[in-house]
C-alpha cells in the first residue's frame, strides 16, 4: 500500500478535522489522487452510483469515485449536446483537463446519459474505458450468477492494469476493509438519525464523500477517530425540522446547498452518495468472494431511482426511510436534466401526499452558486411546519 494521501486531518480537534475534509473535498485539483499517482500508484475511475471497489482495491489500485465537480466544462461542453445533466460534463472535464488522470474508466448503465460515457470517454482517451453491466433485472433468479461472471470480467480487466493476479484471499481482505467502512458509515448515519444536533448535514456529507477519493483504509482511520469525537461533541438540540433528503444518488448538490438546508433542518437520512452505502450488511468473507459481492449487490442493498427491483418500489422505500429515521418531512430534489430523478419525483410526491407527509420539491445543479431563493422557500416551508 502507498503512503497516506490525506494526512491534514490527523491530530486535530473535531472542527478542524471537518474543515480539512471539506477543504480537501472542494479542492478541484484532487490532491489525494495526485499524491497517489506521484507515489507510483494507479487509478481506476468509476462513475456513479455503485461500483464494487473491492475488486480494484484487491489489485492494489485506487478506485476513485468520478462524480463531477464544481468546475467549468470548458473542453467537455463541446463533446455533449444541450439537454444533459452537469455531472456528465464536469466528470469528463476532470479527465480532459488532467485534474484526474487514470489508467481505466468504468461507467454503468444507470441512465440513458451515463451509459454513453464509455463510448465518449473511449473516443477521447487511449486507456481502457468500459461499462460494467450491473444487472437491471434484479428479480431474475440468474442475476447474481450473471453478475458474478461480470465481476470476474472486470477483475481480469483490472489485473491487466495492475499486472498482477487478484486471488480470493486478496479479495476477502479487501471485502473486510470495506465491511468495516460500511459499518462505520452506518454508525455515522445512526448518529444523524438519533442525535442530529451532533453533526450537521454538510459535515456528515464531507465525512462520507472524502472516502471516494482516498484509500478506504485511510477513510476507516478517519472515521474511527472522528465518530467518538462527534458523539462527545458539546451540542444541544435546536428547533429544526427532521427531514429526509432524496435526490442525491448521482449528481451531488453543492456543499453550500447542503449547508443551507442544514441551517433550518436536521437531515436525518438521505440518499447522498448512496453507492458508498449501497450494501447494507457485511459481505461474507467465507466462500466465493465475487459471488458474495454479487449477492450483496442484489440481496442486501439499498434503493435508488436507477435500479429496478420489483421488491423495492421506490416510493415505498422512501416512506420506509422516512419512518425509520423519524423524519417529519422530506426534501424531494432532482439534479437538473436528470431523467430518472425527475421521473421519480412524481411517484414520490404522490406517495407523500397519500401518506400525509409534508415535502419540499426542488431542483439543483452541482455548479449552482446562489441558494438564496431556495433557502428562503425552504425556511418558509419549515416555518409552516414548526408553527402550524
Amino acid at each position: 500500500m502507498n503512503a497516506p494521501v490525506f494526512h491534514e486531518w490527523r491530530n486535530k480537534p473535531l472542527d478542524e478535522v471537518l474543515y480539512e475534509c471539506r477543504e480537501m473535498l472542494e479542492d478541484t485539483t484532487f490532491p489525494t489522487v495526485r499524491r497517489w499517482r506521484e507515489a507510483g500508484g494507479k487509478i481506476i475511475g468509476h462513475f456513479q452510483v455503485y461500483f464494487p471497489e473491492e475488486i480494484v482495491h484487491a489489485a492494489g489500485l485506487l478506485p476513485v469515485k468520478i462524480r463531477g465537480a464544481q468546475v467549468e466544462a470548458i473542453q467537455a461542453d463541446s463533446r455533449f449536446g444541450s439537454y444533459l445533466c452537469s455531472i456528465l460534463k464536469t466528470s469528463l472535464e476532470l479527465a480532459l483537463s488532467k485534474r484526474i488522470e487514470m489508467e481505466m474508466f468504468v461507467t454503468h448503465p444507470i441512465c440513458d446519459a451515463a451509459r454513453n460515457l464509455a463510448a465518449v470517454w473511449g473516443r477521447n482517451f487511449s486507456y481502457p474505458c468500459q461499462i460494467l453491466y450491473l444487472p437491471q433485472n434484479a428479480n431474475s433468479s440468474h442475476a447474481a450468477v450473471y453478475l458474478r461472471g461480470e465481476y470476474d470480467r472486470l477483475k481480469r480487466a483490472v489485473e491487466e492494469i495492475s499486472g498482477q493476479t487478484v486471488g480470493d484471499n486478496a479479495l476477502r481482505s479487501s471485502i473486510a476493509v470495506y465491511n468495516e467502512n460500511r459499518a462505520l458509515l452506518r454508525e455515522l448515519y445512526a448518529i444523524k438519525r438519533q442525535t442530529p444536533w451532533l453533526i450537521s448535514a454538510d459535515e456528515a456529507y464531507a465525512l462520507v464523500a472524502i472516502g471516494g477519493v482516498i484509500p478506504r483504509e485511510e477513510h476507516n482511520d478517519l472515521l474511527r477517530v472522528v465518530l467518538p469525537m462527534v458523539r462527545e461533541r458539546n451540542a444541544k438540540p435546536k428547533d429544526k425540522v427532521r427531514v429526509v433528503f432524496e435526490g442525491g444518488f448521482c449528481e451531488q448538490p453543492p456543499l453550500d446547498l447542503i449547508r443551507a438546508i442544514a441551517r433550518s433542518c436536521y437531515v436525518v437520512d438521505d440518499d447522498l452518495l448512496i453507492g458508498m452505502r449501497w450494501i447494507l450488511e457485511d459481505v461474507p468473507l467465507e466462500g466465493d468472494p465475487l459471488m458474495n459481492l454479487a449477492e450483496a449487490y442484489i440481496e442486501k442493498s439499498s434503493y435508488s431511482p436507477v435500479q429496478h427491483d420489483l421488491r423495492k418500489p421506490k416510493e415505498k422505500m422512501l416512506l420506509n426511510r422516512i419512518k425509520a429515521s423519524g423524519a417529519d418531512a422530506a426534501i424531494i430534489t432532482a439534479a437538473k436534466m436528470c431523467e430518472p430523478g425527475l421521473e421519480e419525483q412524481v411517484a414520490y410526491t404522490r406517495a407523500l401526499d397519500e401518506a400525509g407527509i409534508p415535502y419540499f420539491v426542488g431542483e439543483f445543479e452541482e455548479n449552482m452558486t446562489s441558494f438564496d431563493n431556495m433557502e428562503i422557500q425552504l425556511e418558509t416551508f419549515v416555518e409552516n411546519l414548526l408553527f402550524a
Binding site: 463541446s78 463533446r79 455533449f80 449536446g81 444541450s82 439537454y83 444533459l84 456528465l88 448503465p109 444507470i110 441512465c111 440513458d112 446519459a113 451509459r115 454513453n116 464509455a118 463510448a119 465518449v120 473511449g122 473516443r123 477521447n124 481502457p128 474505458c129 468500459q130 461499462i131 460494467l132 453491466y133 444487472p135 437491471q136 433485472n137 428479480n139 431474475s140 433468479s141 440468474h142 442475476a143 450468477v145 450473471y146 461472471g149 461480470e150 470476474d152 470480467r153 431511482p305 436507477v306 429496478h308 420489483l310 418500489p313 421506490k314 432532482a334 437538473k336 436534466m337 431523467e339 430518472p340 425527475l342 421521473e343 421519480e344 419525483q345 412524481v346 411517484a347 410526491t349 404522490r350
Partner: protein, 429 residues
C-alpha cells in the same frame, strides 16, 4: 420497362405499409373494446416472437406517442402529463403515453388497450422508468429483460467466448422466466412449435430488412431512410414474427430490387446523399425532410433504422432446430447491436461513406432522448477527425414542438447545403 408492372411494384411498400399500420391500430382498437389483455412492449427487444405464442396483441407506446406528434396533437398530451407532475425535461414519449393512459386509452388512431403485462429491455433506461409508471397505474407484472450491451467500442463477444456465454446464459434464463410469466398472465401453455413459426417469420423479416438497407447503396437511392424508412420500420416492429410481416418484407425486397434494376430513385434529381443520425423530428416530420429534399438531398441510411428496429438490420436468423437457445442468442446479439447503433456508431458511419456514396452526415440530437443524443456531438467530432466528410449538427425534438424552431433549422440546413455545393465545386476544379 413494363409500365404496368412498374405501377404495381413501385410504391407498394409505402402503400401496403400504411394499410397494415391502419389495420394494426384497428386491431388494437377492437382489442381495447373487447377488454382483451395486451402486452406493452418497446421497439428495442419487443420479444414479439414470444408474445405471439400467447396470442397477446402487442402495443408499442413509443409508436403511439410519435403518432401524436405526426398528427400534431402531441402538445395536448404533453401538457396533460406535465399538469400531472412530469417535468418538461423528461422524455416526450413517456409523457404522451401517460396522457393516453390518463385518457383511458383514447388516442388519435383509436382506442389503445390496457396492459396485462409489460415487457421491456434495458436498451433504453427510460423504458424501465416508463414501465414502472404502468406498474403503479395498473399493478400489472413488469418484466425487464436485461440485455448486457457492448462494454467498450469494438469489444463485442461472440459464441465460443466465456463472456458471451455469461451474457447469453443470463438472457436465456430470463426468457424462461418470461415464458412462465406469460403462461401465468394468459393461462395458456407455452407452445414451442408456435414459437418456431413466429421465429421463422421473424427470420424472413430480418433477412429482408438487412437486404433493403443494403440495396440503398444504389444510385440513385431507392428510398428515403427518414420518410419511407420510417414506414418500413413501423411494419418491422408491429408485425415482427407475423406472416404478414414476412410477406411485406419479401415484397419490399422485390420492389427495391426492381427499382434498382430500372434506375428508379426516390428523388427525380438526387444531388446529395446523406446519412441521418438520431431520431426524426416528428412534430414537423414532412417539412423536416423537405428542408433537405428541396436541395436535392436524400437520406440513404439512418441509425434510426438500426436501433429502432431492435437491431434487425444485422439480419440475424434464428436456428429453428434449437429455438430457445437461438432466441437468447439472437436477442442478445440484435439488441446489443441496437445499443451499439446509439453509443458506438462512429465506426459504422465511417465504413458506410464509400459504399453508400455519402456526401454528408446529419446529426439530429433531441431533447427528449438522452440515450440517442448524449454522445452525438463527440461522435461527430471523432468522425470528422477521421474522415473528410461534411456534417450538420441540429438539435430539436421528436415530440415537443416548443423546442422545434423550423426557421432556425432551415438556416442551418441551407448553410449546410451551400457548404456541400461549394465542396463539390472545389473538388471538380
Amino acid at each position: 420497362m413494363d409500365e404496368q408492372q412498374t405501377a404495381t411494384i413501385v410504391g407498394r411498400g409505402h402503400d401496403e405499409g400504411a394499410r397494415l399500420f391502419r389495420e394494426w391500430f384497428e386491431g388494437l382498437n377492437a382489442s381495447a373494446e373487447r377488454g382483451d389483455p395486451a402486452a406493452y412492449v418497446f421497439v428495442m427487444g419487443s420479444m414479439a416472437e414470444l408474445l405471439r405464442v400467447f396470442d397477446l396483441p402487442v402495443v408499442f407506446p413509443e409508436i403511439n406517442s410519435l403518432q401524436t406528434a405526426i398528427r400534431r396533437v402531441a402538445h395536448e398530451y404533453l401538457n396533460q402529463a406535465e399538469d400531472y407532475g412530469y417535468s418538461p425535461d423528461i422524455c416526450g414519449y413517456v409523457k404522451a403515453d401517460v396522457a393516453v393512459q390518463l385518457r383511458g386509452g383514447v388516442h388519435p388512431m383509436g382506442l389503445i388497450p390496457k396492459p396485462a403485462i409489460a415487457v421491456l429491455t434495458n436498451a433504453c433506461n427510460t423504458y424501465i422508468k416508463w414501465a414502472e409508471i404502468w406498474e403503479r397505474m395498473y399493478g400489472v407484472p413488469v418484466f425487464t429483460l436485461d440485455i448486457p450491451g457492448t462494454r467498450a467500442a469494438g469489444t463485442q463477444t461472440w459464441p465460443g467466448d466465456r463472456d458471451f456465454k455469461n451474457d447469453c446464459d443470463y438472457v436465456a434464463a430470463q426468457i424462461k422466466e418470461l415464458i412462465s410469466l406469460c403462461e401465468k398472465v394468459t393461462g395458456k401453455k407455452f407452445d414451442i412449435d408456435k414459437l418456431r413459426e413466429a421465429m421463422h417469420h421473424a427470420n424472413a423479416m430480418s433477412r429482408g430488412w438487412k437486404r433493403v438497407l443494403e440495396l440503398n447503396t444504389n444510385r440513385p437511392s431507392l428510398f428515403n431512410a427518414v420518410t419511407d424508412g420510417t414506414i418500413y420500420l413501423g411494419v418491422s416492429n408491429a408485425f415482427r414474427g407475423a406472416e404478414e410481416g414476412a410477406k411485406y418484407f419479401d415484397d419490399l425486397v422485390e420492389e427495391m430490387e426492381y427499382k434498382a434494376a430500372h434506375g428508379i430513385g426516390t428523388l427525380v434529381d438526387e444531388k446529395h446523399r446523406l446519412i441521418f443520425v438520431g431520431v426524426p423530428c416528428y412534430p414537423i416530420f414532412r417539412r423536416f425532410n423537405e428542408l433537405f429534399s428541396e436541395w436535392g438531398g436524400t437520406f440513404v441510411n439512418s441509425t434510426y433504422l438500426w436501433f429502432a428496429a431492435g437491431g434487425a438490420n444485422r439480419g440475424f436468423e434464428y436456428d429453428l432446430a434449437r429455438p430457445l437457445e437461438s432466441l437468447a442468442e439472437g436477442t442478445l446479439i440484435s439488441v446489443r447491436d441496437a445499443m451499439d447503433s446509439m453509443f458506438y456508431q462512429d465506426q459504422a458511419l465511417a465504413e458506410m461513406i464509400e459504399p453508400f456514396h455519402v456526401d454528408g452526415v446529419v446529426y439530429h440530437p433531441i431533447k427528449s432522448c438522452r440515450t440517442v443524443s448524449t454522445g452525438l456531438a463527440d461522435n461527430r467530432r471523432a468522425l470528422m477527425a477521421s474522415r473528410d466528410i461534411a456534417s450538420l449538427f441540429i438539435e430539436s425534438d421528436m415530440m415537443d414542438r416548443r423546442v422545434v424552431s423550423e426557421a432556425q433549422l432551415k438556416n442551418r440546413v441551407d448553410a449546410f447545403f451551400e457548404g456541400l455545393e461549394s465542396r463539390r465545386l472545389a473538388a471538380s476544379r
